[in-house]
């Protein structure tokens, strides 16, 4: 009964008469109390203990778990699509080539195919190494020391594609004792550096690593 009295607009209006005069300054509670819409009484369905912490945490937890699982699923889906763009297993298997260096005698060239491109491997003599190191840097079109081009000076490993227009140079030929491109006459020295002719750059060095007696290109 008492609460009804307090809630009744008549009673409230009576109490807050001076405020009601200036409608703009009324608080929400006051506005609500002025409203003719009445909130029904939920008293009989509301739990006596009004502490909702547990149920609120539970609700957030459930919604958060669903978000977590969904985002994990979305992430895997995206990853699957992205990984489908990477090289397949058969391509990766071809991506590296293993060459047994023990079979290459001193002072000989070997050409192996790597990803469809020729790779020159030369077992250089000490004389050739010395020759490659003695070149005057200023005379080079694309200056690069021999040490920059080899991991082990005994073995020169490079892509056999002329940097001019992509022909395959001939070994042990040309004016500088290295390679000679028959297409447009580019001369490379014993370190694969361009010395004469139209090619702009030295022969490219692929990634490779030594593994005992073997070299793995790729």
């Amino acid at each position: 009964m008492l609460s009804n009295l307090v809630r009744s607009p008549v009673a409230l209006r009576a109490i807050s008469k001076p405020v009601a005069m200036t409608t703009a300054k009324m608080s929400t509670t006051q506005l609500l109390s002025k409203s003719t819409y009445r909130t029904p009484d939920f008293g009989d369905v509301i739990k006596e203990d009004r502490n909702m912490d547990k149920s609120r945490v539970f609700s957030y937890f459930m919604i958060g778990s669903m978000g977590l699982l969904s985002s994990a699923g979305a992430k895997s889906t995206v990853e699957t699509f992205l990984s489908s763009m990477s090289a397949s297993a058969d391509v990766l298997a071809m991506a590296k080539v293993e060459v047994n260096l023990a079979n290459i005698p001193l002072g000989k060239n070997v050409v192996v195919k790597w990803q469809g491109k020729p790779v020159f491997i030369r077992h250089r003599t000490p004389h050739e190494i010395q020759e490659a190191n003695e070149v005057d840097m200023s005379s080079l079109k694309d200056p690069q020391t021999d040490a920059d081009r080899v991991q082990n000076p005994e073995w020169l490993i490079m892509l056999g594609i002329c940097t001019h227009l992509g022909c395959v140079p001939i070994g042990e030929a040309g004016d500088f004792g290295g390679w000679f491109c028959p297409c447009h006459g580019s001369h490379y020295d014993i370190s694969g550096r361009i010395r004469k002719g139209p090619a702009p750059l030295n022969l490219e060095i692929p990634a490779y690593e030594f593994n005992g007696d073997k070299v793995i290109v790729g």
Partner: protein, 66 residues
């Protein structure tokens, strides 16, 4: 930790809630995957290649094909 403090720490600010969910997704993926793999390998113990490898006494070596 009471429920009220869990709410205050994790759920009150939406940025923290969403951040927790995304970070949790990353953590969940790795832990879930390793847990499933562990169970699966335990369930199939004796049939897997690593068991066979131990049985034939193969030396440890890189399995990636180069």
């Amino acid at each position: 930790m009471s429920f009220a403090s869990v709410y205050k720490v994790l759920f009150k600010r939406n940025s923290i809630f969403v951040g927790t969910v995304f970070v949790g997704a990353f953590l969940f993926q790795t832990t879930f995957d390793s847990a499933i793999t562990k169970w699966y390998e335990n369930h199939n113990k004796g049939k897997l290649w690593k068991d066979v490898k131990a049985r034939i006494g193969a030396p440890e070596e890189a399995e990636d094909d180069e």
